[in-house]
């Protein structure tokens, strides 16, 4: 299966723009990214290979500066790789962006302060000329999904940080994308809100069948949410290990409820990811403390 994806992505004569339906949601092949800075060259990413299947939930975890955001930005076509190949649903990342194949949410909500909650969620629909009646019903559904129906007419400065983030997530879902890119979207939230949002996100992803690439600092968060956890290490930014999650509830993502957080399989997976992070891949056992820095092991 993964070979087939590899082949189809590598075949240059395949009609890339068409975006065949079998294609992986994200395919990253031998990607390097370097930044030229005043103090020299920063190797933000080195030799990254990663395939995210359609409907799959993949988390990127690793200490600060290991290139998680950079990888996300490359997938979103907000930046270009120095070398290597990226495709999204078999298309170039630029084409995927133009086709609105993905929805994105950042660490900050990034709402437009002069727009109401409903108008913020409607923004992408408005920009792409969705008729206003259709827009209204879709916004109503999305607000219902994130539990903010009563707040539709409020402005962002009248909401808590958690509510703002939920609006941003509703906005990222507005065009029913097959791929969701999320860069530490819950980073600024308190623990209670965070757990609630995690549960909601699992449900939403299951309902919509979207693939998700999710950046996080938190091991339990990655374990709770993901089908696979991609463990990265810094300087240069590399994938050190990919840990598949074997949880009891794995068969159906919708089964993944708060109970999961108390299951023994959950703790086993947390331990496994933590060891992957601290072990820093089998090839460099010597630098554990450096690799662990900045990772939230709560």
């Amino acid at each position: 299966m993964s070979d087939q994806i590899l082949n189809s992505a590598a075949a240059t004569d395949a009609p890339l723009a068409a975006g065949d339906t079998d294609a992986a949601a994200v395919s990253v092949r031998g990607v390097n990214k370097q930044f030229q800075t005043a103090t020299g060259v920063v190797h933000a990413l080195e030799a990254i290979d990663l395939t995210v299947s359609a409907g799959e939930f993949v988390s990127l975890i690793g200490p600060s500066g290991c290139g998680k955001s950079t990888l996300m930005r490359l997938i979103a076509d907000l930046d270009d790789p120095t070398s290597g190949d990226l495709t999204v649903f078999g298309k170039t990342t630029t084409q995927a962006r133009l086709d609105q194949d993905y929805g994105i949410a950042f660490q900050q909500a990034g709402l437009l302060p002069w727009r109401t909650v409903a108008a913020n969620v409607a923004l992408p629909l408005e920009l792409h000329g969705v008729a206003s009646a259709d827009r209204r019903s879709r916004v109503a559904n999305l607000l219902d999904m994130v539990g903010l129906t009563e707040f539709a007419d409020r402005f962002p400065d009248q909401l808590s940080g958690g509510m703002q983030q939920r609006v941003a997530i509703a906005r990222s879902l507005a065009e029913q994308p097959r791929l969701l890119l999320m860069d530490e979207p819950f980073g600024a939230l308190d623990e209670m809100t965070r757990e609630k949002m995690q549960t909601d996100l699992v449900r939403i992803a299951a309902d919509t069948g979207a693939a998700v690439v999710f950046v996080t600092h938190s091991i339990p968060e990655a374990v709770f949410l993901s089908d696979r956890v991609v463990v990265m290490s810094p300087r240069p930014g590399r994938i050190s290990q990919i840990v598949p999650m074997q949880l009891n509830a794995i068969d159906g993502r919708q089964e993944r409820s708060d109970n999961l957080r108390e299951e023994s399989s959950f703790f086993e997976m947390v331990t496994e990811v933590r060891e992957a992070l601290h072990g820093g891949a089998s090839d460099s056992p010597g630098d554990e403390p450096r690799q662990a820095r900045g990772v939230d092991t709560r």
């Binding site: 979103a76 962006r97 950042f106 437009l112 002069w114 400065d157 009248q158 703002q164």
Partner: protein, 293 residues
Amino acid sequence: MTARPRLVGGFVWGLAGVLLIALAWEGYKFFGPADGLSIGELRVLPRTTDLAMPHLWDMMARLAEPVTRAEGALPLWAVVALAALTTLGIAAAGWAVGVVVGVGFALLMQRWRLAEFGLLPWIVISQTVPLIAFAPVVKSWGSRVEIGSFEWQDWMSVALIASYLAFFPITVGALKGLQSPDRIHLELFETYASGYWSTLKQLRFPAAVPYLLPALRLGAANAVIGAVVAEVSTGLQGGIGRLLIQFAGQASGDPAKAWGPIFGAIVLGLVAAGSVALLSVILKDYRRTEEAA
């Protein structure tokens, strides 16, 4: 956040200020030396005679009286009001031109860095040229302009000078505002594959509002000052500037009359500032921040 109490509060303070000035005026007139106070040749306190400082109630009463003794003359206040309206119209025209030019420059400079490097220094330097001092020259240039049936009017020279003073703060404010969106918002619009115009309409202009409003207010104040002074120096008939000079010349015989156009000019400035304030009430949602409650 709530607009009403603040508006009422502002009104009360304004009224208190006016009362204070009135009290100071009449107080000084009552207690001050009739001949003022001079140190050598230099007079440091004004005379308090009725000629130099008419009573406030005399000024008010004068406003209600006819402007001249001629048959069917309008009351002073009506003459002043008409002149103030004329000047307001000219200033508004100048302001509108200033807005178009200022926002136009800002758009050019936001779009092309090169334009910013090339234009901004000249725009700054332009303000060191006191066009207002050359008002008569501007008028004589204008009088030579004749395109088809269009003929340059003298009031247009005044409006031009008003716009020259108004456009500068508007350019600077609009540029700062158009450049103000955060990277996160700009990148969000990029992920939406939003083009230049829709980003301008949905992001840059709304984000510019908090910068534009004070710039527009400053522009309006500049336009009014520019119009009044340019009227005086070009000798344009019909506006408040002309009236100020004309009535001041009659002050020895009718001291209270000279104060009519002064009140008119004050009201004119208030109306201009008030109009822009109204704009900011309409656009209040654009002054919100993203900060969480």
